[in-house]
Symmetry: C2
Subunit: 369 residues, 2 copies
C-alpha cells in the first residue's frame, strides 16, 4: 500500500465520528507482566469480555503476539465475529497506537499513522522502548488494505483527540502541549496539524483532563462528543477533590464555546466514581520494570465512565463496583436512547492505566459518506 | 471465525485449480539462517523479485516476522499491490503451511488447515520445531475472514497435491504414503481423505517425484495440471540420470490414466536443467542447525522447471542459468498462450529446498463459481 506525502484535507478525507457506523473494531490482547498484574491473566479476562461484547454488535479483530496467539484464540473462541490476528506490540492501547481512519465522500478509507512515543518518550513516557507500538498503525493499514499518511515529525495518540465528524475536534492542552511530545511546536502549529489531518475547521482546547492520568490527561478520559453539539463530561461535585477544579474548567470552556457549525454545546455531566485506589496486592502482583514509574499501593487510578466506546448499536462502558455505576449508566442510556448500554467491570484495564475507549479502535464503514 | 467439524464435500465446497482466477497470492518472507545462506540476504532478494513479479498481476501479501517486518516493507516498497503483514513462522513454504482454499457454488471461500509436521516430523522431517508453521493456515483463514476445516488427525502439505478443478487430484505415493506423515493409514484411507476434503472424484497416484527432493518428492516439483486433461511433466532423456526412471514411471502411469471426466491425459515433457550441485561456498554460508540433515557441498539439489506458479494472466517460472532455461520457457509459453511467462533466476530458493511454487499460495477469487 502507498505512503502518502499529502494531507487528508488536501485530498478530501476527514475523520468520521466514533458514533458513526463502523465496519469493525480492533483491539490488542494484553500481555506484558509489568503493566498487567499476574502475567495479564486477569486483564485478559476483561479484554475478552470487552471483545465478546463488542462482537455482538460488529466484527472485532484482536491482535495478539505470537506467544499469546493460541491463548487469545481459545479465550475468544465463543464468538464467530472475532478474528485473532498475530501482531507484536509493546502494549495494548490500540486507541493510541492504531491508525486514525479518515474517509472521503466516495467512502474510501485511509489511515493516519501518527508518530508514537509512549505518551511522552524519554521525558515522561510510560515505557521504553515503543518501537513495535509505532509500527501498529502501519500494520493495521496493510491489514485493511488502505493507503496511509505517515507523520514522522508529529507525535499524537488517538486517545488525545475526539471529533464530531462535522468539523470540530476536542482535545486537551495538558497532553498536546506537553514537553514530551512536540516541544518545538507552538499551539497554533499543533492546531494546524489537527486541521490538516483530521480535516476539521475548529479545535476546542480544554486545559486539563482527569487527575493523575498518565497520558498527560487524554481527552478520551474526560470528555467526548455524544453527537454533534452534545458533550459528555466527567464530573464531581466534591470541591475537596482536585478533580473538581479540572472538570469545572472544562465545563466553563465548553459552556462558552461553539462548534464548527456555530452551535452552542449541550453539556452532560457524568459523575465520577469515588477515587479508585491501587491496593497493595495489585501493586505487588505487577512485575517490576526498570523503565517505569512504579505505582505503589495507595496510588489513585484515573477512573472515569467517560472512557467508554461507542460501537454499532451499543455503548460499552466501564463499571467500578461503585455507587455511581448505575447513575452513569442511566445517563448514558438517556444520551444514547437507540443503543444498548453494556457495562463491564473494568478495574483490570484501569490498573494498566486506561479504560475501554483506550483499548478499542473503530474502522469506519466504507462506501457510506 | 468458525472451525468446522464437517467436510468440504458434505458442505458443497471444492478446491479450484490454481489456473483459475485468484483474488491474491500469499508468500512468507525468508529469514532463518540455517536454511537460507548469509542470513537469508540473497533469498530475500529472490523472494522480493518473485513477489514484485506476481504483484504486477494480482495483489500479493507477504507475511514477515516482527524482526523482519521493516526489512520486508522496505525491500517490497516498489509495489502498491503488496501488503506486508506480520506473522511468525518456522520457515517460508506457504504452499505447504498455508491453508488450501475451497469454494462453493456461491463463491464463498473456506480454508483447509491440514496438520503440518515439517515434511515428516521426527521421522524424516526437515526441521524441528514446526509449531508456528502449523498455525499459519489458521492465521491466514482469520486474515481472509473465512471459516476453516481443521484436520488434527491428518498430515498433508499443499505442495503434495494438485487438482484440475474438475474432480481430479494428482499426488505422489512417495510423499503421501511416507512413514513420517500418516503411517497408520492405508492408501485407500488417505485417498478417501483427499476425496472428502478436496471434493474430487478421482486421485491419480504417481509413484515418485524428483530425485533427492527433501519433501519425499512432492507432486509440485514433478508434474502439474496445465488445464483439465493437460499435464506438464518434468523430464530427462538421460538414461544415466536416476531421475530418468522416476519421470518415466510417471509418464507411463499418466499415459494409461484418465481424469475424473474419463478423458485421456495429454502429457507435455518439460526438460530438467542439468544437475544443480550445491557449492562449497553455499554450504559453508549456511548456518549450522542441530536438527537438520546438513547438506554438504556436492549435494544435488532437486531443481525442476515444473515448480512454477500460475497467477492471473502470468506464469512465474524458475531459471537456473542452464541451457534448458530457454527451452522450458518456450514450452510453457505454448502451453499458456494467453499468459505472460516470467522467468526468475531462483537458485536461492532451490538452496532452501524448493522453488517458486513452494513459496506461493493462491487465494481463489470469490463470487465466481
Amino acid at each position: 500500500m502507498k505512503t502518502l506525502k499529502t494531507t487528508p484535507k488536501q485530498d478530501g478525507f476527514f475523520m468520521p465520528a466514533e458514533f458513526e457506523r463502523h465496519s469493525k473494531t480492533y483491539m490488542i490482547w494484553p500481555e506484558r507482566p509489568d503493566v498487567w498484574r499476574c502475567g495479564a491473566f486477569f486483564a485478559q479476562k476483561t479484554f475478552a469480555e470487552v471483545a465478546l461484547s463488542i462482537a455482538k454488535y460488529e466484527p472485532t479483530v484482536v491482535l495478539a503476539s505470537s506467544i499469546q496467539y493460541e491463548n487469545a484464540k481459545n479465550k475468544l473462541s465463543n464468538s464467530d465475529q472475532i478474528s485473532v490476528i498475530e501482531m507484536s506490540s509493546n502494549d495494548s492501547w490500540v486507541r493510541d497506537t492504531g491508525a486514525t481512519f479518515v474517509k472521503n465522500q466516495e467512502g474510501i478509507l485511509r489511515g493516519i499513522d501518527w508518530k508514537f512515543n509512549a505518551w511522552g518518550g524519554l521525558t515522561d513516557g510510560v515505557y521504553f522502548p515503543w518501537d513495535k507500538d509505532d509500527l501498529i498503525a502501519q500494520k493495521i493499514c496493510d491489514l485493511e488494505n488502505v493507503d496511509r499518511y505517515r507523520l514522522d515529525d508529529f507525535i499524537l495518540e488517538g486517545g488525545s483527540i475526539h471529533v464530531d465528524g462535522k468539523g470540530t475536534a476536542l482535545t486537551t492542552e495538558s497532553c498536546l502541549l506537553s514537553y514530551g511530545r512536540n516541544p518545538s511546536m507552538t499551539k497554533e502549529a499543533i492546531e494546524m496539524k489537527l486541521k490538516l489531518y483530521l480535516n476539521v475547521e475548529k479545535v476546542i482546547w480544554l486545559k486539563r483532563g482527569i487527575y493523575l492520568d498518565e497520558t498527560n490527561e487524554h481527552i478520551d478520559n474526560i470528555a467526548c462528543f455524544v453527537r454533534p453539539g452534545v458533550i459528555a463530561l466527567a464530573w464531581t461535585d466534591d470541591t475537596n477533590d482536585p478533580q473538581h477544579e479540572l472538570s469545572k474548567s472544562c465545563y466553563e470552556i465548553l459552556s462558552n464555546e461553539t462548534d464548527a457549525n456555530g452551535q452552542k454545546l449541550e453539556i452532560h455531566k457524568i459523575p465520577l466514581p469515588k477515587p479508585q485506589i491501587l491496593t497493595k496486592q495489585e501493586s505487588t502482583n505487577t512485575a517490576f520494570c526498570s523503565t517505569f514509574q512504579t505505582k505503589n499501593s495507595g496510588y489513585r487510578l484515573s477512573a472515569s465512565y467517560v472512557n467508554y466506546y461507542v460501537c454499532n448499536n451499543a455503548v460499552i462502558m466501564p463499571a467500578f463496583d461503585d455507587s455511581s455505576d448505575k447513575k452513569a449508566k442511566e445517563i448514558l442510556q438517556k444520551l444514547y436512547p437507540n443503543r444498548d448500554i453494556i457495562q463491564i467491570y473494568s478495574r483490570e484495564i484501569l490498573l494498566g492505566g486506561g479504560n475501554i475507549h483506550c483499548i478499542t479502535q473503530q474502522i469506519p464503514e466504507r462506501l457510506q459518506a
